[in-house]
Symmetry: C2
Subunit: 286 residues, 2 copies
């Protein structure tokens, strides 16, 4: 069978997928990693913040003695562009159950000087070492079945400009949160979608760092247009996700003073709340 046909017939797997290749970091020195940021995860020419968080998360997973980001906080400083970047990590503390690290992503200005794009603090652990206890009152989001949800292929591009990331995501939006695309935003700060990678790769903690920042801004359903840049985003990964698509629910309750919060929940196919995030973002009131 020709290689192309074979690839098309085969679902990508964790460790062997475009997401894995595009987040791969190369160790230059202890704790220092090079990466060429892919143009494949851009939205209107800006590199997606979740993809960048996954890159930083991957570097820290290599630098720290524990593999999984339990809680990772990112402050976004300047806009990243596709192309060369370096991640510099620092091991802050190592413990038996958790280790804490810091990482910064830098790119280069015209004179070749490093410009810091993002700085993160994170505490890592081993999800597989956690006990199985679950005592939760959280309920999965009310989201329509996947075949009643809409992908970007179902209509005209709702946002102008090149958005390469849409080709790499399996993102199917709940019709109840799609009013904005039809010019009738609901007025509620809610966005819900089924989420996966387009090549069929299953979810893992790193792809969930992408998932929490991959939906259209809730501001669209509040009737706002334009950019909603993230100031800070913190994600908690609580459980290794089961195979299959994720459900992602994002809610904004408080838009005030030109800022809003976006709270994301990520649920897996086994009905586990596998990740939570909150970000503070700026809005341009239209």
């Amino acid at each position: 069978m020709p290689e192309a046909a074979s690839a098309a017939a085969t679902r990508a797997t964790i460790g062997d997928s475009e997401f894995d290749r595009d987040t791969a970091v190369t160790r230059r020195a202890p704790g220092v990693y090079d990466i060429d940021l892919s143009a494949g995860w851009t939205i209107i020419n800006a590199v997606n913040g979740g993809y960048l968080l996954a890159v930083l998360g991957r570097a820290l997973g290599d630098a720290l003695p524990h593999p999984d980001p339990f809680t990772i906080s990112a402050h976004y400083l300047t806009a990243s562009r596709p192309g060369p970047a370096v991640v510099r990590t620092e091991t802050v503390r190592t413990g038996r159950t958790l280790s804490t690290g810091q990482a910064s992503l830098f790119q280069y200005d015209d004179e070749g000087n490093e410009v810091e794009r993002i700085r993160v603090l994170a505490s890592y652990g081993d999800l597989d070492a956690l006990p199985d206890d679950v005592r939760t009152s959280a309920r999965p989001p009310a989201i329509a079945p996947m075949d009643q949800c809409f992908g970007t292929e179902d209509g005209p591009a709702p946002v102008d400009g090149s958005s390469a990331i849409t080709d790499r995501l399996m993102l199917r939006l709940d019709p109840a949160t799609l009013g904005w695309a039809l010019g009738r935003p609901s007025g509620r700060g809610e966005m819900r979608a089924w989420f996966g990678l387009a090549d069929g790769r299953d979810a893992d903690p790193l792809s969930m760092l992408l998932a929490v920042d991959a939906l259209p801004p809730t501001a669209f359903e509040l009737g706002l247009k334009g950019w909603v840049p993230t100031v800070e985003l913190t994600a908690h990964v609580r459980c290794r996700p089961a195979p299959g698509p994720l459900r992602v629910s994002v809610t904004t309750r408080n838009l005030a003073g030109g800022f809003l919060e976006e709270d994301a929940e990520v649920w897996d196919s086994a009905d586990r709340l596998v990740a939570q995030s909150r970000q503070l973002a700026r809005v341009r009131l239209g």
Copy 2:
């Protein structure tokens, strides 16, 4: 009038209160601050994490060009003790609207070596410069009127050990979330209280960093006992609070794998959602 009687008759003010004196940092060098951590904000001999966050927040407010913590993320590394400490700050980026900084609090081991207690990343701005727009769907928490709530003076100390912080807080707990103190936890991960400083000082952004981590753990209402140490806490300050007591609501939805999240909301007397926080904490399942 004798000084003691005069003090008792006067409400403390922002800038002239025990909280202000106990969070005051002394600049040793640019970006480096000394402080003597007060024993007055301990709970069972551990220094309260919200008090420590306020100390770090105050140092960053001095070091950065903007005064107010819009979003601050703290990773707790080792347990702090009352006594000398040093805060080392770094200005990461300064912009027109926001500036980003990092700070670490260190104490000293028996050989006099610095031991890092907490590391934070924060983005600061100027709350007074924000537009007045509020488009919120958030509603104030359902909390009983203050005269139907209970303070620590209303019963036996629910937690053994010295807890100096209780003398410095005006904390009145909603009876609906007080079952744990009577041996009948509700099973719901909720804690609600009226919050202020005991000396009558009004709230400001720094005291709200204390408020988000000052209630008894939600785990108590889930029927768990013992310590619930914070791994990471991120707080967003969204508005300068109006004078008067705050209402603080803390909710845990997902206790799993030995960790839980605590989501706090802080509301002021003008019914504004003035701060939000989320922390990831470890639990010892009893």
